[in-house]
């Protein structure tokens, strides 16, 4: 029921590719290098967590990769299409064709019902909002009974599931989830992470999860570590313990991090 409308072959094998992406905030003495030549590649159907201490550049990485902010240098390719210059309108069109978002603060529109919120990206893109499909996606995230509710009538976990349904409905090349469990209790957090994992397993979506929580990161297939705006290693098939330990040592790995920051990193 969730097959893409595009032909299966049209999906690029590489969902996301960053080449030497750099971003500096501010100028002169106050300049902060948030991203320092990050290069990475994520295959379609992968579930990757991006971790790092606060100030490591996680959020900047997500914003640059997702077209919410423009990198100063470097190349961003999503689903085989390079993100080019152009105005905010062009960038918006790029985003809504290829990228889905899940935020910590949900960012659902308070005046739209669950069903209307989910259909919104399709409507904005001028695509047909197929009622059956939207209901099916909402049923899949466990909200088939709450189509007519407004966001403030839902719990945090339910709101986040609406946000996931909204991200799924356009069948994007990559879903970016920015601390999606940051505002949730443990049980809702587990449900939301399980749901993200399921979209990867069963439906072949690609998910990038930015988090500082080792337990959340352990749901991913692999974890990328970030420190001082550079990649600082990765971990496959992560466990919460291994991630937590890696995080503890991240501060001490400054000397060795250049070795991990190879030109192109396959994960």
């Amino acid at each position: 029921m969730f097959e893409r409308k595009r032909k299966p072959g049209s999906r690029a094998a590489e969902a996301l590719r960053l080449v030497s992406v750099s971003k500096v905030y501010g100028t002169g003495d106050g300049a902060v290098t948030a991203l320092d030549g990050v290069t990475l590649s994520l295959p379609t159907g992968s579930f990757t967590a991006v971790m790092g201490p606060s100030g490591s550049g996680k959020s900047t990485l997500l914003q640059c990769a997702a077209g919410l902010d423009r990198p100063d240098r470097g190349q961003v390719v999503v689903d085989g299409e390079e993100m080019s210059g152009g105005g905010e309108a062009a960038l918006t069109r790029f985003r809504r064709e290829r990228i889905g978002f899940v935020f910590q603060q949900y960012n659902l529109l308070p005046t739209l019902t669950v069903e209307e919120n989910t259909a919104l990206p399709l409507r904005l893109a001028g695509r047909r909002a197929d009622r059956e499909n939207i209901r099916a996606v909402l049923t899949r995230v466990g909200l088939g009974e709450r189509l007519g509710h407004l966001p403030d009538q839902l719990s945090g976990g339910q709101r986040q599931r609406v946000a996931i349904a909204r991200a799924l409905v356009t069948r994007p090349g990559v879903i970016f989830a920015d601390e999606p469990t940051g505002a949730l209790d443990t049980r809702s957090a587990r449900e939301v992470l399980g749901l993200l994992k399921e979209t990867v397993r069963l439906h072949g979506s690609t998910v990038v999860l930015v988090t500082h929580d080792p337990v959340a990161a352990s749901y991913a297939d692999s974890v990328l570590f970030l420190a001082d705006g550079r990649l600082a290693g990765h971990l496959s098939a992560p466990t919460a313990e291994a991630v937590a330990e890696r995080m503890t040592h991240l501060g001490g790995r400054v000397a060795g991090r250049h070795a991990d920051n190879g030109p192109l990193m396959e994960v």
């Binding site: 529109l109 209307e116 909204r166």
Partner: protein
Amino acid sequence: MLFLAMRSVRKRPGRFLATLLSAFLGAVIIMTFGSLHDTAAAPGVDEVSAESMTLSASVVGGYGSLLVFFAIASTLTVAVRQRAEEIRLLRCTGATPAQITRMVVGEAAVVALAGAALAVGPAVLGGRLLLGLFRDSGQVAATVAPAFGAMALGSGFGVALLASVGAAFLAVRRATRAAAGARGPARRRGRTWAGCAALVAGTGGVLTTYAVDPADEMLMAFPAYGAILLSVGFAVLAPALLGRILELLRGPLDALGGAGGYLSTRHLRRRGAELAGVLMPMIIFTGMATATLYIQGVESDWVTRSGLDRTVEDKNLETLNLVVVGIIVVFSCIMLVNSLYAATSYRRREFGQQRLAGATPGQVLGVVGREAVVLTLTGLVLGTAAGMAGIIPFTMVRTDQVLPDQGPGTWLAVMTVAAVATLGTSLGTARRALSTPAIDAVTVAA
């Protein structure tokens, strides 16, 4: 809690600018007219001079005060409603509803006092200018000296404080109750009652016109009061009505309007309380401007025709009256722009959310534009209704006609100003809000 109130006023002066501006302008107007009372009451003023000043001060100053009262109250309501997030945070930090109420009401009082205090200087000047006009037109003897005293200060500070504190109290009580989880019909019923009460009082004011002696110089006050109260009543009841109309038209509107129309109709339908805050100054402006300008026109014609102005030059008197009415009209127009600016800039976060859901900046502007058009149409229809309700009785009593001779020119001008002010302010403010990156706009700046 007063400490918290002082702190938040001092640390965030920008947020209080809209309320300060309305308190300031409102107090300037009230004090300017109030100073006429003081001047008239001074010893040695001849009876004719005193009478013309007292008349203008009580008629125009009177309905002006009512207008200022609602203008300040509606700005305050919009401002308090925008602080829901802060109120929620304070509640989580352990503030009781009474403490939160004291803080918000305390701030409102501080801002109103500051506005009124700032208004004293300009009002002294305004009072002198107004007296000058009276003297030039021969309404007041050239020897009368300007005075500024208890009436001016008392009414200026009184109305500004009462409107601010009263509106802040009601709005914060609603906000704390909403934060505590109470919602639903009780509040709506209260609104409906208040709206109906304003309509009844307004109809009463308008109908009183018929009971007054056709030659009474105070006659103009009744339809003016009536028109203001009717505008307020319409503004309070309009959102629910508008919601119902939009609900009925949902199908065709969705089909016609695309994604922008879809978002606009839903926003308008489910944000009744916010809408009332903008509709109030909108309907008051169109209603007031139409009513007072036409009433003044009819009044001038009547004075000319009846030859009551034998002691003064017609032309000067007409100018004076138009200046006096013009002050009120300009004030309500500034209030309209002020509230629209406050309401639209508050929606920065919502615009960010729309953009993150895939709306281009153009689409967001389209949504805002559509909403402004619907608001303008609603305001024009209801404002015209309120204005006509004041004009018709006055014209019927003063002259033998039902409608004034002036023709639709003034009405068209008022409606054009209202439409341009609404669309211009909404779109201009939204455009500025869109210059922030979407991701920054959605992070709450409490």
